[in-house]
Amino acid sequence: MKSLEELKRIKEQTLRDMDLRQAKERGKIIVAMGTCGIAAGAKDALMAIIEELEKADIHDVKVVQSGCMGLCDKEPTVEVSMKDQPAVIYGDVNDANARRIVREHVQGGNVVADLVIRRENI
């Protein structure tokens, strides 16, 4: 280590690894991981979302799991609630759909209409 530049580089790199521990203010993606959800492929959806967020360099959105939301025939279900916006619940979220949700909704700001189950407060 001979310079502050090098120090900054380590900081940036490590911050990425510690990302899960930072406060994430912009929004929350909840993946329902009930038995029904897992059977329908919620794990794939979860990992696809995390991967896609990483690819898009998004670090201010939290990905958490919940139990069954009660929409068992639409599993896997994913709820996206961005700050100051109503929460949106998506159904049949397979790997490809999960990636679309991240790209179009979280990144692009547009609700993925064809996957929506129910929009609150509209």
């Binding site: 280590m1 490590t14 990992m47």
Partner: protein, 594 residues
């Protein structure tokens, strides 16, 4: 790809309550469920809420699981991480509101604190220098090396930082004196001796954030013109030694210690010196002798270590918590440091909260916080519905804060005014069942044991005081004892060689000041109002409650209780040794203790 991180508190208290085996269960369960590549387990330093350990925090949610055992640790994996269901049986329930807290942000113990010294403890992996760097670690060293030594010292003086080891001497002035002292080489020393019973602030910093101390010592080396530092830590802190040693190795590997640090031409390195655990070695001159390999006994000041310290060379010696403040002051400036705390004692103070209080553990609060906030808001009040009586601060060198001073802001100066000291930050809460004479005797007994014997007032004086205290607690107190204690105490304070002896009478003086009535009750009425001093107790049997079950008579080890079956029993006071076993065994509440 990592989706969750499990932070497992690996502070001393959590390790004692089974953290290692809990962590093993977590790792095993992750493997069994095939998610070991998605979930990372990280051991951190002390999270502070020591009575709730072992603690596991699940990120990104921040879910705070407490008192995790080998039996239920698996639920965190199978329920929370696999099925997404919070394990409610492991959440913390706030005792007063009976509300369940999901994250540490819902627990008053945490929300009332201001974490500066402890900002990385429980947040980063202490073995990872990268995580320390990610939290702005070593940037202060980089900044300091671009400043002049005089500028660094000016920032410290302006910050108003005072030594956290207990005496509260302005740190900046100490640095200035050492810089200006003639002589070479100069040395930087960190006092990690922490000998007060019940205090563990410094240990937690060394275990949870060792790099902050290394960084601060390197800054100090640059500021005073030293190339060599010594970390003095007691042998009873093996984990602190292990992690600090590891951190030194990493710092050398990354070039924060060694030669030509950050390409500036500045050389600095640190060695660990392990003390054998003598309390007197927390006194700076004794500590320096111990580092030199000599017997740890104090010497007269002046000369101060700044002029003639290690091997008679100018030496800067600060306490662990003092150093822990330095990098942040360099990074954020003097104004930032002064933004919390009181005018004459800026910044925060870490307390080890213990005794008769709901939440024990490590807490960091702004200087000037009141005892009421500490005990009732952060500490959660007194357990068992008992009343608050006093708080003991400063360990064997300190005294008590009584209920009358619950709303007094606590800082170096206010505590001194009421006859106690800040000390290193031990804070022991006493409820109404505590006997103040007994407490003072306990602390005095500690200093009698720990007196190094070099000077007469401390060696003989404290022993004489202790024998008087013993007599008083045994019911053999005599008229005039209080006056004699006061007189002797003041002589010891005035004539002892070092801080140990000068402060040893404080617990007695402070309790006489506020609880003279208790001393009088012991001496003149031969009674202990709190029923603690066993020689002053009388056990008797209440005839209206005794059913004659003979349990007490059979339990009594000296056959002091006689009586026939189904008839009232009596205690022969001449035989009774006040062991209390009859009181414990009686199921009818028929034994009176007074």
């Amino acid at each position: 790809m990592i989706r969750n991180q499990l932070l497992v508190c690996a502070g001393g208290a959590c390790i004692t309550s089974g953290e290692k085996s809990v962590k093993d269960v977590l790792v095993d369960e992750l493997k069994k469920n095939g998610i070991e590549d998605e979930v990372q387990v990280i051991e951190t330093g002390c999270m502070g809420a020591c009575d709730l350990g072992p603690i596991v925090v699940v990120y990104p949610e921040g879910t705070f699981y407490q008192k995790v055992t080998v039996k239920n640790a698996g639920l965190i994996v199978s329920e929370h991480l696999v099925k997404g269901r919070t394990v409610s049986e492991l959440l913390y329930t706030e005792p007063t509101s009976e509300k369940q807290a999901r994250t540490s942000g819902d627990i008053p113990f945490y929300t009332r604190q201001v974490k500066r010294v402890l900002r990385n403890c429980g947040v980063i992996d202490p073995l990872s220098i990268e995580e320390y760097i990610a939290r702005d670690g070593y940037f202060a060293l980089g900044k300091a090396l671009e400043m002049t030594p005089d500028d660094i010292i000016r920032v410290l003086v302006d910050s108003g930082l005072r030594g956290r080891g207990g005496a509260g001497f302005p740190t900046g002035l100490k640095w200035k004196a050492t810089r200006e002292a003639k002589g070479s080489p100069k040395y930087v020393v960190c006092n990690g001796d922490e000998g007060d019973p019940g205090a563990f602030m410094d240990r937690s910093v060394l275990e949870g954030d060792p790099h902050s101390i290394i960084e601060a010592m390197a800054i100090a080396g640059y500021a005073i013109g030293a190339e060599k530092g010594y970390m003095y830590v007691r042998a009873e802190y093996p984990l602190a030694i292990e992690r600090f040693e590891y951190a030194i190795g990493k710092a050398r590997e990354y070039g924060f210690l060694g030669r030509d640090i950050l390409g500036t031409g500045f050389n600095f390195d640190i060695e660990i010196r392990i003390g054998a655990g003598a309390f007197v070695c927390g006194e700076e001159t004794a500590l320096l002798r111990s580092i030199e390999g000599k017997r740890g006994t104090p010497s007269i000041k002046p000369p101060f270590p700044a002029q003639a310290g290690l091997w008679a060379k100018p030496t800067l010696i600060n306490n662990v918590e003092t150093y822990a403040n330095i990098p942040q002051i360099i990074t954020n400036g003097a104004e930032w440091f002064r933004s919390v705390g009181s005018v004459k004692s800026p910044g925060t103070k870490v307390f080890a909260l213990a005794g008769n209080v709901q939440n024990t553990g490590l807490v960091e609060v702004p200087m000037g916080t009141t005892l009421r906030e500490l005990v009732f808001e952060i500490g959660g009040g007194i357990p068992g519905g008992k009343k608050f009586k006093a708080a003991q601060t400063g360990g064997p060198s300190g005294g008590v804060i009584t209920a009358d001073y619950l709303d007094m802001p606590i800082d170096f100066d206010t505590l001194k005014e009421i006859g106690t000291i800040m000390g290193s930050g031990g804070l022991i809460v006493l409820d109404e069942s505590s006997c103040m004479v007994d407490i003072a005797k306990f602390y005095l007994g500690f200093t009698v044991d720990e007196s190094c014997g070099k000077c007469t007032p401390c060696r003989e004086g404290t022993r004489q005081m202790y024998q008087m205290m013993e007599r008083i607690c045994e019911g053999k107190g005599r008229d005039g004892d209080i006056e004699k204690l006061n007189k002797l105490a003041n002589v010891i304070k005035d004539t002892s060689l070092c801080g140990l002896g000068q402060s040893a009478p404080n617990p007695v003086l402070s309790t006489i000041r506020f609880y003279e009535d208790e001393y009088r009750a012991h001496i003149y009425e031969k009674k202990c109002p709190s029923h603690v001093c066993k020689h002053l107790l009388t056990y008797s049997i209440m005839p209206d409650k005794c059913v004659g079950c003979t349990a007490c008579a059979r339990q009594c080890p000296v056959d002091a209780i006689t009586g026939e079956v189904k008839k009232t029993h009596v205690v022969d006071q001449s035989k009774c040794i006040k062991c209390g076993s009859c009181y414990e065994i009686c199921r009818f509440g028929a034994i009176r203790k007074e």
